[in-house]
């Protein structure tokens, strides 16, 4: 048996022994997702056991090096683990912006001291992170950000306001873009790590059109951020005033992650399930709506092939480096269209905001949620700008 097949056998046995049956059920509500952090509580013993087993094995961050809390899996092994987990429907043991965003930035730009401290904390789910990028006056034009860090010798005195900070009200630390040189637009931003329990740091949830509040405003009023958290642990990632490089890297990473969500519900055809849905409510598919669904399914199935090609080309080092922008643009627009159609098929039932029948208004709340797809992580318009400039090489783009 090849090494990789041995690994599959071992992994299967390990999952069998360590993943409790309850953790193989689909996620039903927010409580089923474990985000970690200082104030985190487990919903039940199974969630706790599964999380702890994964931490011990390095499986909260399987591809990170062992020294930083990972399992040191190579790409092929990580794929096997994903396959085996999805085969039994295993839930993610730990969701975290530390894993998805700060981690990759530290792995690329961090000092050894930062990696030792922060990556291990993330892997063990001890610290919950949030991201402080956007500001009220700086959305798409992120580089115009104003939150200021004044150099006070041994610390930065930070003042400003961040917005769209995901789950900031539940986070322990924030990785934050701070202007440290007002005269230098691109090379005057520092990627700063801030403990949110510091005096002057406060948050306020933003209620969205979907009724949920996954985002906050975060206020920084005279927050004293020490320049160092210990030996070889500076408060900034990368060099001072060079945080834009880190931010750009992470944005690229984020778009890749969003665009890589090919497969699954996001891209599947929907016509057949919509027909079943109308049969359940005693309705017929309007012929014009059916035609729209058919056209949608053509686009959705074609996009699935695009996702496959995108991944294949990425793995082989082919394909344009700016292609994730195209995937993000097309994938998110498609998803918005999907939910528009699902609302139309659902009729008045899909309008119910609180009924038990709709799981507390899932159709309408999800529909509204998708409107953010083409705004967050770079708007569709910004994606089109990037394609114009980097792929089509259009003048002045």
């Amino acid at each position: 048996m090849s090494d990789i097949e041995n690994f599959r056998t071992e992994t299967r046995a390990w999952l069998e022994a360590n993943c409790p049956p309850e953790m193989r059920q689909p996620v039903r509500d927010d409580g089923d997702v474990y985000w970690g952090g200082k104030n985190a509580t487990f919903k039940n013993d199974a969630q706790k056991a599964w999380f702890e087993a994964c931490v011990a094995k390095g499986y909260t961050v399987p591809a990170w090096p062992k020294a930083y809390g990972g399992a040191g899996l190579d790409a092929a092994q990580a794929k096997v683990l994903r396959q085996e987990m999805s085969r039994i429907g295993a839930r993610s043991p730990l969701d975290s912006f530390g894993i998805w965003m700060l981690g990759p930035a530290l792995l690329k730009f961090g000092t050894e001291g930062q990696k030792q401290k922060f990556l291990n904390e993330i892997a063990r789910g001890e610290i919950r992170w949030c991201q402080g990028y956007s500001e009220p006056g700086s959305g798409s034009d992120l580089v115009s950000l104003q939150t200021h860090g004044e150099d006070k010798g041994d610390h930065w005195l930070v003042n400003g306001q961040k917005v769209w900070t995901s789950y900031a009200d539940q986070a322990d630390w924030i990785f934050c873009l701070v202007r440290t040189d007002k005269d230098n637009k691109y090379q005057g931003i520092t990627f700063t790590l801030i403990d949110m329990s510091t005096e002057g740091c406060s948050t306020k949830p933003i209620k969205l059109i979907s009724g949920a509040s996954p985002f906050c405003e975060t206020f920084l009023d005279n927050v004293k951020v020490p320049k160092s958290y210990g030996e070889d642990i500076p408060a900034q990632v990368g060099e001072i005033n060079r945080g834009w490089d880190v931010a750009k890297y992470l944005l690229g990473h984020e778009r890749e992650m969003i665009s890589g969500m090919g497969g699954g519900e996001r891209t599947a055809a929907i016509g057949a399930s919509m027909k079943r849905l109308t049969a359940k409510t005693g309705d017929d598919l309007d012929p014009v709506l059916r035609a729209e669904l058919a056209m949608f399914d053509v686009d959705a199935l074609a996009f699935t092939a695009m996702g496959e090609r995108f991944m294949d080309e990425m793995k082989a080092g082919k394909g344009h480096p700016a292609q994730p922008n195209m995937m993000k643009y097309t994938g998110t627009e498609l998803n918005k269209r999907r939910h528009e159609l699902m609302m139309s098929v659902g009729g008045s039932r899909a309008l119910e905001w609180e009924s038990e029948d709709t799981g507390g208004g899932k159709p309408s709340r999800n529909w509204l949620r998708t409107k953010a797809n083409s705004i967050e992580g770079g708007t569709s318009e910004i994606m089109l700008n990037v394609i114009s400039k980097r792929i089509l090489d259009l003048p002045g783009a």
Binding site: D297, A302, A305, R309, D312, K315, Q323, M326, Y329, P395
Partner: protein, 379 residues
Amino acid sequence: MPLFHTEDQAMLAESASGFMADEGNIAKQLRHWRDRDCKDGFGHALWKQMAEMGFTGMLLDEEDGGLGMGHVEAGIVLEEVGRNLTPSPFLTSSVLAATALKHGSADMKGRYLPGLIEGESVFAVAIDETAKHRPDRITTKAEKSGNGFKLTGSKSFVIQGASSDMIVVAARTSGADDEEDGITLFAVPKDAAGVEQNPVRLVDSSMASHITFDGVELDGDAVIGEVDGGREVLNAMLTAGRLGAAAEGVGVARGAMDMTIDYLKQRKQFGKLIGEFQGLQHRASHLYSEVEIARAVVIKAQQLADAGAESADLMTSVAKAKVAKAAGLAVREGVQMHGGIGMTDEYDIGLYMKRDRALGEFLGDAYFHANRVAEMSGY
């Protein structure tokens, strides 16, 4: 299998691309023959050159003198055909008719394949009977007559029918008009008595015939495959032809798009290159995205068909529909972004628009295939 070309396929693409750009370009072929009001609408010399390149018999089995290649390879040639708007019998002869003849008897193969491989013969296919592609309904009848058949009915949109040495005709030998079974395919020689061709020039300068079969006497050895068992072969032809048309459509789309993006970098108005205007940049980038997706689904469908996968039929319709949408967008945006000169005959962008229209209609348009996707998906 990853969704990009293998090394061998990439080499084929390189040689096909160079060859079609040199020999099959718009000035040398499409405009040349069109401006001379050529009754074939294509050049026989180029067809011979395509034979020398090994293209004409690429889908045929090696024991029949072919190259034993698949839909991906045929698509590589067709994408370059599309990019150069090259008029040629490749899609109808080397893809559609060749797929039918693969199911013919040894005798029939001996009669027709050498001429095809040599680039001497041209074949056509007669499937449609009305102005829209409706292969589920075939009313042209072939009745038993002595040892052979008598063919009666009419066909439309027979591309290069009048230039062809032989026409593959889908006819009904039993059952009702819209029944699945009871179809038989015939290889009808061009000079058979009772075949009346009415060739017309189409918007893209290609030639297509309305054909009437008035009691055409055919020998039993004109039958391709089994009597009453032609539906399966017809379906194989349709899949090959639709994949081919989709690949050609990707070439049309990319040709039109490249031309247009070049133009955005040259044309100045208001003291600026028009490509600097965001109103055009975003539309160009949207177009790029759609064409990329169309490319991806075409190679996906080609690979599935080459692997004999069950989902190949569905993905072929997805590909044909997606390409029709993307290429349609490419030529419409192309003409619009070229402004006034986009409306002139002198400029090539309009030729892309014409070709796209004809190619999109061939073997089912976006509506036909989207409807098919819905039906195959169960709604």
